[in-house]
């Protein structure tokens, strides 16, 4: 009976999709039918709450710690459907492991899985990262925290074990972001952790001087720690050895191969000071080439995502900053010049101004083969009263010591860059981006933090999950036309054998109708969020991908000819036959 009812529902849905498809093919676009907000139906019911501090500086810190609402996408139970981990930050707040039921609903199984407890009096969750630290093919979980990070080993039975202590990563750090990729090509992903505050206990600070010493050149933050994976379940801090020694106010890390040498480089986005660019020397070390690659800046870097927005075969980088009436920094869209230098084309492309930016992700939501951008924003949405005059009263006070928290005005219930509308930038053939967020109802004004991009129902359309500070998340299901009537798509699930198991760092070059498209597997790029590691390519009206070339981190290259459209393929390194991925949504 239940199946029959589902069948009827499916028929109705199918009819409506066919009608939508017919409109699309007739050139009439389905207004307002692009995405549906399925948050509550999907069961993503838990609201994030900011941490409330209990120390002498709590009233000041409250304005600067509206952080910790993160979302990480990963198929932890290997059932073919992408699951979600979402964080809370309040002292007794539980984190949530939302298992994808395969029908666009999720069940929070965090307690049973043993990963719910991520907040206490001395730790606050800030971000999360799925990565396979022991290379067994099952995603493990890192909960990034102000305090001590947590590493949970996937026991391959729906449960996790806390292995933080034995892993060697246990130390006090006010961590806010992490990415995992195999920088030295030893077959195991390594861990890069960025921290915001320096490693002092911010829950009970023994000094008031733990705020940024400058708004533009601060170097008293938490920096970046590089943990080399020892391939035995443990890690070693190799930051200095690999040439990454930073003390800025890190907000995000993003990796990608800027010069197509097969070795991933690293972009570090920092608040209160310059971002950094590290070139991978292909020998287990990095070189800081910030000055020549991107130049020094004094902006408030919040997010890093890499993607080839203009389909020229080189990965570009998108970084959000603060752009408001009182602070016109503008975002960076770093166009890759192909010689390890980048040019900022944010103004020219219309991606410059997105308010107080947070996560921004490249995706191809309409499967036209051009990477679009979704950007969330907003710092604190409080009362009608603005905090801006208060902060600038401090800024213009002579000889003020910014590092001293006591000099910062309390925010109270005031707003600072609040109620900002999110942006969905549609890529107009690599030249300019046009905001389509209002058209699709993706222009919420909640204080957005993270964005998880994934095809949650395996229908070839990229859906979105947004984490919001002090608020409930959003789950936006993509309903745009795709599939048999076009636009078409292909997705690849990569599995490394010589390379790391999830193929992080692998580059895929698709040739469709004589044009080549570059996509890659990233290990957690984007502020407070991680998207799917599945490769997605929209191919518009083409039904075949003539050539698919995979460059694995191991150095191996594989080529597949004539992959048919509208399918998910599983490709195992070294296996010449791609397999069809069978998981289908039941709705």
């Amino acid at each position: 009976m239940k199946d029959a009812r589902h069948g009827i529902v499916r028929s109705i849905l199918l009819s409506s999709l066919l009608v939508t498809g017919a409109f699309a093919s007739a050139g009439i676009e389905p207004i307002g039918r692009g995405f549906e907000d399925l948050t509550l139906k999907a069961g993503l019911i838990h609201k994030h709450s900011n941490r409330v501090f209990k120390n002498p500086y709590a009233h000041i810190m409250a304005g600067y710690t509206a952080l910790g609402a993160a979302v990480a996408v990963g198929d932890y139970n290997r059932d073919g459907f992408e699951d979600l981990f979402m964080t809370d930050s309040k002292e007794d707040g539980r984190n949530h492991l939302y298992r994808n039921n395969g029908d666009l609903t999720f069940t929070d199984v965090a307690v049973e899985a043993g990963v719910a407890i991520g907040n206490d009096a001395q730790d606050a969750s800030a971000d999360a990262l799925w990565f396979d630290y022991n290379n067994d093919g099952w995603l493990d979980l890192l909960v990034v925290r102000f305090g001590h990070n947590q590493l949970f080993k996937n026991l391959c039975n729906g449960k996790f074990a806390d292995v933080t202590k034995e892993s060697g990563i246990d130390r006090y750090m006010n961590a806010i972001t992490a990415v995992a990729f195999d920088y030295d090509h030893d077959g195991y992903v390594d861990l890069f952790v960025g921290s915001y505050f320096q490693p002092i206990n911010i829950f009970n600070p023994d000094t008031p001087r733990f705020f940024p010493e400058s708004f533009e050149t601060a170097n008293n933050g938490g920096g970046v720690i590089v943990f080399h994976n020892n391939r035995d379940g443990s890690f070693t801090d190799v930051s200095e050895k690999v040439g990454i020694k930073l003390s800025g106010w890190t907000l995000d890390l993003g990796h990608g191969d800027a010069n197509n040498d097969g070795w991933d480089d690293l972009y570090v986005a920092c608040d209160f000071g310059t971002d950094h660019f590290f070139m991978n020397n292909c020998d287990g070390t990095f070189k800081d080439i910030t000055s020549s690659a991107i130049g020094l800046d004094s902006k408030k870097g919040m997010n890093v995502d890499w993607g080839d927005y203009d389909n020229d075969g080189l990965l570009d980088i998108y970084v959000t900053n603060i752009t408001d009436d009182y602070m016109r920094e503008g975002n960076f869209l770093w166009h890759n010049n192909g010689n390890m230098t980048f040019s900022d084309v944010a103004r020219e492309t219309g991606t410059y101004s997105t308010g107080w930016g947070w996560a921004a992700k490249f995706l191809d939501y309409d499967n036209d083969g051009w990477l679009d951008l979704y950007v969330v924003n907003g710092w604190v949405s409080g009362s009608d009263e603005s905090y801006v005059p208060d902060i600038f009263a401090m800024v213009t006070r002579p000889n003020v010591d910014f590092a001293d928290a006591r000099n910062w005005p309390p925010m109270g219930n005031k707003s600072l860059s609040g109620y900002e509308k999110k942006r969905l930038f549609h890529n107009e053939r690599g030249q300019i981006f046009k905001d389509e967020a209002p058209r699709y109802g993706l222009d919420s004004v909640r204080d957005g933090r993270g964005i998880g991009v994934a095809d949650f129902d395996n229908d070839g359309r990229e859906d979105l999950v947004v984490s919001n500070a002090n608020s409930a998340p959003f789950f936006y299901h993509n309903l745009l036309p795709a599939g048999p009537d076009g636009p078409h798509w292909v997705e690849l699930v990569l599995e490394g054998t010589r390379s790391n198991r999830f193929g992080v760092g692998a580059q895929v070059r698709f040739t469709v109708a004589g044009k080549t498209y570059l996509r890659f597997v990233n290990g957690g790029n984007g502020f407070a969020s991680q998207s799917s590691t599945r490769i997605h390519l929209g191919i518009a009206d083409r039904k075949v991908v003539e050539r698919t070339e995979i460059r694995w981190p191991s150095g191996a290259t594989q080529v597949f000819e004539n992959l048919g459209a509208d399918r998910i393929y599983k490709i195992v390194e070294g296996n010449p036959k791609p397999a069809h991925f069978s998981a289908k949504a039941t709705k």
Binding site: F215, D325, Y326, V388, F392, V395
Partner: protein, 248 residues
């Protein structure tokens, strides 16, 4: 008998200082033309030390500083100049501009600090000698502040004062600036009709002015984008005051 001799000696000393100052100015211009910034800046500083209220020397010095990107040297120089010459209104004015000149080369928060400090010196210049350039400069500076700071009404007051002064004066080429800025100030206060009225009045007097024409030809978001672009602190404002001495 002694008094006239002393007076004559003083006059002689003054005219000699002026001559020295003019010579240094000439040397500065020559060095600048040869892109010898080190010499140019030193010569300008010598000229200004002898003639601190000379608005031309101060303005040209700052333009050379912009080319040499020697903003901090310039600020330091004016700091001493106004300390040594506390009655010099134009030295204060140029001191304020020295901070403004550094704004596009600074981060967003430093921009605020610089702009705020510049205002202090513009106010001091007005206090020492109320003038069209003083009111116009300070009034225009207020317009660069975001609305939230509530400084636009102060800008309107200054620009209305500048307008009042210019209406009592013969028509000068630079008077068009007050029409542009006062109109922008009204626009910023959401009084579009008064803004258009001001720009229209300006255009009647300066019919070829492109800034006025552009403003009057735009509406809504187009006008907003145009004015916001003109008031973007990341873009360099032309602080060359040459019109002041070329159109006396």
């Amino acid at each position: 008998m002694r008094k006239p001799i002393l007076f004559a000696a003083l006059l002689l000393a003054l005219s000699s200082a002026r001559a020295d100052s003019a010579a240094s100015h000439e040397n500065a211009l020559k060095a600048l033309a040869a892109k010898d910034y080190t010499t140019a800046l030193s010569e300008f500083e010598t000229a200004l030390a002898s003639d601190p209220d000379n608005i031309e020397y101060g303005s040209e010095y700052r333009q050379a500083v912009i080319q040499a990107t020697a903003y901090d040297r310039c600020i330091k120089f004016f700091e001493k100049l106004v300390a040594d010459n506390p009655k010099s209104s134009n030295a204060e004015l140029n001191f304020g501009f020295a901070y403004v000149d550094k704004i596009p080369a600074s981060g967003t928060i430093t921009q605020v600090i610089l702009a705020n400090t510049a205002l202090t010196h513009f106010s001091k210049a007005i206090e020492l000698k109320p003038s069209w350039i003083g009111y116009y400069t300070r009034g225009n500076s207020y317009l660069f502040w975001p609305k939230i700071f509530g400084r636009t009404p102060l800008g309107v007051a200054d620009l209305e004062q500048a307008m009042k002064l210019q209406k009592q004066d013969n028509k000068k080429i630079y008077h068009v600036r007050a029409y542009v800025s006062l109109g922008d100030a009204y626009w910023k206060l959401d009084d579009l009709s008064r803004a258009r009225e001001t720009w229209t009045e300006g255009l009647a007097l300066f019919p070829d002015n492109p800034q006025l024409k552009n403003r009057l030809s735009k509406e809504g978001d187009d006008l907003k984008n145009y004015i916001e672009d003109a008031l973007d602190p990341n873009k360099r404002v032309d602080t060359n005051l040459r019109e002041i001495w070329t159109d006396k």
